[in-house]
Symmetry: C3
Subunit: 330 residues, 3 copies
Amino acid sequence: MVTTTWTRRHVLSLADFLPTEYDIVLQTAASFREVLSRRTKKVPTLQGQVVTTMFFEPSTRTRSSFELAAKRLSADALTFSPGSSSLTKGETILDTAKTYLAMGTDIMVIRHREAGVPHAVAAEMDRLGTGVGVLNAGDGQHEHPSQALLDLFTLCSLLDPENPRSQLLKDKKVAIVGDILHSRVARSNLWSLTASGVEVHLAAPPTLLPKLFAHTIKDERRQRLFLHWQVEPALQDADFVMTLRLQKERMGQHLLPSLREYHQHFGITRDRLQLCKPDVKVLHPGPVNRGVEISSDLMDDPALSLIQTQVTSGVAVRMALLYLMGGRSR
Amino acid sequence: MVTTTWTRRHVLSLADFLPTEYDIVLQTAASFREVLSRRTKKVPTLQGQVVTTMFFEPSTRTRSSFELAAKRLSADALTFSPGSSSLTKGETILDTAKTYLAMGTDIMVIRHREAGVPHAVAAEMDRLGTGVGVLNAGDGQHEHPSQALLDLFTLCSLLDPENPRSQLLKDKKVAIVGDILHSRVARSNLWSLTASGVEVHLAAPPTLLPKLFAHTIKDERRQRLFLHWQVEPALQDADFVMTLRLQKERMGQHLLPSLREYHQHFGITRDRLQLCKPDVKVLHPGPVNRGVEISSDLMDDPALSLIQTQVTSGVAVRMALLYLMGGRSR
Amino acid sequence: MVTTTWTRRHVLSLADFLPTEYDIVLQTAASFREVLSRRTKKVPTLQGQVVTTMFFEPSTRTRSSFELAAKRLSADALTFSPGSSSLTKGETILDTAKTYLAMGTDIMVIRHREAGVPHAVAAEMDRLGTGVGVLNAGDGQHEHPSQALLDLFTLCSLLDPENPRSQLLKDKKVAIVGDILHSRVARSNLWSLTASGVEVHLAAPPTLLPKLFAHTIKDERRQRLFLHWQVEPALQDADFVMTLRLQKERMGQHLLPSLREYHQHFGITRDRLQLCKPDVKVLHPGPVNRGVEISSDLMDDPALSLIQTQVTSGVAVRMALLYLMGGRSR
């Protein structure tokens, strides 16, 4: 395993991730994917360490993925569920984090509806000299690094299963279709894809893709970023199509006419995929609204959909991240 | 352990269970019961495998029993709780199952308020060639096989603790009393008991035991099935009395006059047990409404009640089922 | 480890705890604290045993602490969460406990809003001759023994980290400030502190500290107990200040004017601490209402606040209690 140059204690954002860091994650994840294919899918790497998932926003899927990753590294997984918690009793998030720190947490996996919460916790952990690592499992509309890393791992593993590395994606064209504006998945993917030399084409209705969006990206990367208000130019000759989950509550905010109309204009179907490269693959972070973001038959076609592979990649990539962060005891 | 002839990947229904299959479950459970009596109640059988409980209907008791069974086989137990889940986000049940499949689940334990859901998931897992086993932990008013198997294990173990086997029950008389119509426990027990040569007597108010009920049972077994609208003829000379949980919400549906009147006419009391064989025992799948299905003093009398034994049997039988299903890696 | 004289199966109340028992807990906890400082924070002591947490009152913090303690002793931790449970289905608490007993529970950790529930369960477990130990994790306004023991461990460890023992506190002055009337933490601390020869000074507004309060304490201990309706005399020359959580719902009951006024009169600040001994330390059981019970800056000052240490002590003390109770298999 290549871990010699990993120096990052927290994984909060991909904005400043270096190419070597992407490759370390990819190669570490590849070695853990091998572990997952064994009959006994467990290694003693983090035995006796504590990984605490703190999901202030409900999520079964991502939380299960992290918990399984932690268990397969033989860590103890603690779960903080604010529903029935001290938070309703007025405790601040930093105080909650410090409580779990004091219990002996080595790595905190944090999801929160407000952008910046994992960063604030990480800063506090550093200020206190704790050595605890914080992993951002989704903060508001800001970032969701482990999702983008598992997407990257899925793509690179498809191109070279033995030796996934980011440069495999150089000059590929990836279309990202959907609710870009509100998507932390899209934001994290922008960083990882442009860093890998991908040409990224965003497609969404104007209400979900403001022109200003591209301005958040630094100049040199912005050259590899293209915005479209129709789906077709984004799909044209694309190597991969990333679809994003549409949140139904956006319609109440007058950002969308109807799911049906969305599907008509931006839904990914077999027909639309004709515009792409012949061996195009479709991704989705899940959960999918069948027949909205993607047509139902396409979703179930293993020749076209990478959705299941993404979930499997997720466990391997999260094992890699927890392993690399390794907790304060390292 | 006798496992040579076990070929069943899923445990969905007892309708087609063979006598040898019942006996394999009983003997395997007996060997695990021995494990549970040790100081260290754990075996490494399913180490590194993942058992995911997916309870779309809330249940602490049955879920805990399965989780404990999984842990004692050294499996990793994942929990899907739809309350705070993707389901509220519009994902289909099959997609949820496929997500947990992709994470590496080996066995799925599924409860759902709709009959047939575990079957549908099992069919999809087979269609995909996954090797994953599905265990029906209760589907609507259809079946609850592990409950009937633990009841069978409880009865047979009472008759021969060393060597429980279904033929021990041949020509015994078992009364099943309560809300037959809505009970998946009763349905599964009908299959296991009639297969074991038991004479089954059902007793309930007419609203909870329609005449048509017996027609779902095949002819040869129907001969061992008797319906009663009073409790007394069912109890007469019975070897065992199985009581069923009365769901209070049925009263709102005008199926029941009142809990008090139900108890007066169908509640099992010491007096009523005089009608049975001298060493009669009473069962209940729990949770019990004290003083409704069973009088409170009777429930607490270990000479008459097998309720605690049923719970203990549950862990051993579920260990046996998980062991026999064994996951895709076998 | 000194465990030769430990004979207590349950930990329900500190009212009758003997000095030797306090010292056994302190010394056992000290040895487990050493385990927690290792890279692999795990011992096989309770392998294969089952610790079931039954929290009928929601609490993430205390439950996590117990679960972590159980896991670090290699026990299997079962969680009963009544929200989605059989209790809503009318089952009694004793029946729930007996169900978890029958599943193989060795130790039950119980929290309930009614005083006496853990005692009732313990009595039933004894009556049945089960050997199961019951630990009171907070019952109504009655007791919270593990909190008082971790407070004791925190104080004694500060005075002699190598050899914490209760006599270190002899003739120290401890102020307990806050909602004494409703606090099970205060009640348990009264027992442990007076047993250790501490002079205890209670301070609260009259509505939260009735004169009758002291009458619950036996005469010889009552001599070491002082009640104040202002905070200053309690703080005067105090060695330690224990603050209690203020529950905001008390204001609706006209027991408190406002949080602001409370802080003005009873909040612990740097200024007020000038009254105490120079090396005074402040404790709080958490979660803290910042700026109410304690000023925010004081809470974050490791030279003054022991709050984080208390949380860490909690895991060690709960490991010690679970170890000493040891389950029925011992």
